[in-house]
């Protein structure tokens, strides 16, 4: 159950994000519209492209902030899980080796106990469903952040007349398909040659 103050805090944070999103979109849209008419007369385009690109980048930046909220939630949970297991494992070590080691052999023995307990407890955590799910969500949010960064880079690449990631991907796909067809033909040819040589 979420407390009332936590709920209020989430709502206020969402409202704040929505407010800044609206504010940013309002100004970028207005600038874009304002620049589109009078500047079209005096410029040959770059300013309009600049305004459109600024809008795209602003939208990406706003969405990055939204993703960061989710990312922070999962990364907090990630470190919470690790620190909880650390605490429990340390208690187990303290129970098994309550005395401060006095000689080299005792230090070795305590170290062995420490490593065995920590490895076992952490492996149990990494094997658990709750860790797997949270880690999967964390990676997923990290990927979404990367996607926004990719999108911003694409806007910049296109503004300097370089191909975007999608355009490069299309070329990769085409090359892959061509190579595959050539390899299959070469392999068939090899087999045919062998058959004929017999």
């Amino acid at each position: 159950m979420q407390s009332k103050s936590a709920k209020d805090s989430v709502e206020s944070s969402t409202n704040m994000t929505e407010y800044y999103k609206h504010l940013s979109l309002f100004w970028t849209d207005i600038i874009h519209l304002m620049s589109s008419k009078p500047q079209a007369l005096t410029s040959i385009g770059p300013m309009r492209a600049f305004a459109a690109n600024s809008k795209k980048i602003s939208v990406e930046l706003i969405e990055i902030n939204e993703n960061l909220l989710g990312f922070n939630q999962y990364i907090t949970e990630y470190y919470k899980q690790l620190s909880e297991v650390w605490g429990v494992a340390q208690k187990k070590v303290n129970q098994k080796a309550p005395k401060i080691p006095q000689d080299v052999e005792q230090i070795e023995a305590v170290k062995r106990i420490w490593i065995d307990i920590f490895d076992n407890d952490f492996t149990e955590l990494f094997d658990s469903k709750k860790f797997g799910e949270n880690y999967g969500n964390l990676v997923s949010k990290e990927l979404e952040l990367t996607k926004h960064w990719n999108n911003i880079t694409n806007v910049i690449l296109q503004s300097v007349n370089l191909p975007s990631k999608e355009e490069v991907d299309e070329v990769y796909k085409e090359i892959h398909s061509l190579k595959k067809r050539v390899s299959k033909l070469e392999l068939e040819l090899k087999k045919e040659k062998r058959k004929n040589a017999k």
Partner: protein
Amino acid sequence: MQNESAIDPKIIEEILKFSKNVIDAPKFVSAPDEISLEVTPHKVVQEIDKTRLLHYKPIIETKHKTPLLISYALINRYHILDIHPEKSWVRNLLEQGFEVYMLDWGTPTSMDKYLDFDDYVNGYLESSVEHIKNQSSTEQISLQGYCTGATIATAYTALHPENVKNYIATAPVIDGWKDTTVISNLAKHMDADKMVEIIGNMPPEFMYYCFSVLKPFEQGIEKYVKFFKNIDDKKYVDNFLRVEKWLGDTPPIPGELFKQWIKDIYQENLLIQNKMHVGDELIDLKKIDMPMFTQVAVGDHLVSPECSMPLHYAVGSEDKTLKIYPTGHVGMIASSLSQKKVLPEMGTWLAERS
């Protein structure tokens, strides 16, 4: 007062010795970059895209007619099978009189993100088999697959049984739902589509993360403490650095291949159910009807025995052997146990059928 007198002077001595070892280490030990991992002499007999087919130079006269092709894993490089002259899988097989080939998958780049199972099974592996058949004038080869390389080799053997005389599966990744390792837990919760769409290939950093969660304290701390403690033991240090260098060389995995891997093997578990497709063809494990030898390790924390063993029961072969060894994933292929037990048993089995 009692505490002061209770401190063992040996503790101080140990700390001083350890500090000295850390300081002196660079004087005695080569940097990992200075070590070459290519131990046994070989020729590159075929190159397709980034893959290379290696043919090892015989050490003694070849005693067995059927050549052996090794399909190494996609994680890390093939060097672990030839890591040190005394622990080399390849060298041991050459000493037993086998003709040995190795398929090096190479290091894919962003351009290779569309390579899929079909390219690996019906492209690179099939071309290698055809090349060996041409070179050795045989109609069939023996095929060994290790780890994820065994998954590719299994798919190949099921699709082209006429080319494979004997099949050896070493720690194969087969039944994803039965896999009890940490890796499978992470794989089951991964959005592979999103990763491939946004990043392209599976980045090495992700594999390093996976390695870091495997016995993090033994492997992340104790291993390095032992290394500095044994800095004057040349044999230990040499072996340690070779394995470390190998561990640090993880190539990316092509995006499409990785996606199919995670979804078909770990999430939907299609291979063992005979529902997995490679290209347009369905993989039916019952079509693996040649002699088959499966090797698993009880202490394998990368591919659990429960994940590998179902292959033994799923194939159509009547002549099949399952061996279980008291070691781990790497111990099975690069240790004194592999030299004294795993390889001699495999060699005897293979020699009788080659």
